[in-house]
Symmetry: C2
Subunit: 213 residues, 2 copies
């Protein structure tokens, strides 16, 4: 059975995983300090960081793409626009080489035609409940797993619906004071999971949440 | 620059990484308890353990194949025979699907013809110094990394020659009393490395050794 997995979700000590104001200049909404310890190259493997030591943080980050056949993301992860699309020029933050290399389902109330890239990434704009969109993503992923790619509002929606099987959080030792909460309104959601926790030498506390059978 | 990497090398509290007597019945030479916490499925990715929780141990194990283009192994990892090959029937412990899926260079004083498998694994039997064999493996790996696959005698030989760039040890909380030592005769070899260390909830202490520039 394919799983739904969350990876490398950086969370502040006060439970925020993004800032509130996503703009073209601030893709993380002003919460960039959440990612100060994050080396994005490692999502494709520890060998991609060959100019610096391979750390535990790199190794845990590198599980991101293993056996993943599709991603689901919220619209704010795809771009800063709100409401109806002004046009179809925006193709995401990632240039010609989006890192996903699978179909990606962007949850939005404003569908538009899909976008395809030569490296295997395609974006599909879908309106529907978490269950509906997960059904589409599972069909695209085949026997592989589905990554719930964020942002925090999207992960929270899937957590609330009981649709997350595995979640890797990286608790960052900073406070934001405000932002988009990962946990708001989720009463004791951790009780449904076996949670492993360890702190790496960098100061990040990693948690692996595995849904109880 | 491609690196030489050691992965998932399980070591007892007294520094042994294999037993002394490798036989057909005892591939680890009687030190099987070293592997009681090792889930070999995870070398190909955390998604391969989909009938059990994904642990930190799985995640760290899964770095094994990332960006690897060739492996070097000692003869005792390939098989229990000693001296001249009685025949060419033995094709390794792994059946028709050896997990390596790259060229593998088996260090032996008794060369024999190479063996090829449909899944991309091939075994090449080579006689030479660590430097010589590494040169052949690097040529086969291209821009990818070379894994020094063990056993402990082979890893020790490459450590002594200063040829290991990265090493992942898993210190297992057991004692063996006797066996094949990883460190015998290596005076303060750790001084050449930055060593990260953490203990996972399973009780394994993982170490990442990164060679200092």
């Amino acid at each position: 059975m394919s799983r739904t997995r969350v990876h490398n979700l950086n969370v502040s000590l006060d439970g925020y995983a993004a800032g509130e104001e996503v703009t073209l200049e601030q893709p993380i909404g002003g919460a960039e300090r959440l990612f100060s310890r994050f080396d994005g190259r490692a999502i494709h493997g520890i060998d991609r960081v060959d100019d610096s030591p391979v750390t535990f943080d790199h190794a845990l980050t590198s599980t991101w793409g293993q056996g993943i056949g599709a991603e689901i993301m919220g619209r704010r992860k795809f771009g800063p626009q709100q409401g109806a699309w002004p046009d179809h020029e925006w193709r995401g933050w990632w240039g010609d080489e989006p890192p996903f290399q699978t179909p990606v389902f962007v949850m939005t109330h404003y569908p538009r035609p899909p976008i395809e890239f030569a490296n295997g990434t395609s974006f599909h704009f879908v309106d529907g409940s978490a269950e509906d969109v997960l059904g589409q993503a599972r069909a695209a992923a085949g026997r592989l797993d589905v990554r719930i790619g964020g942002g925090p509002t999207t992960v929270r929606q899937f957590l609330a619906a009981g649709l997350i099987d595995f979640m890797h959080l990286a608790i960052v030792p900073v406070t934001l004071g405000r932002g988009v909460s990962l946990f708001e309104g989720l009463d004791d959601v951790a009780a449904d999971y076996a949670v492993e926790s360890l702190t790496s030498p960098s100061g990040l506390t990693h948690q692996f949440w595995n849904r109880r059978p």
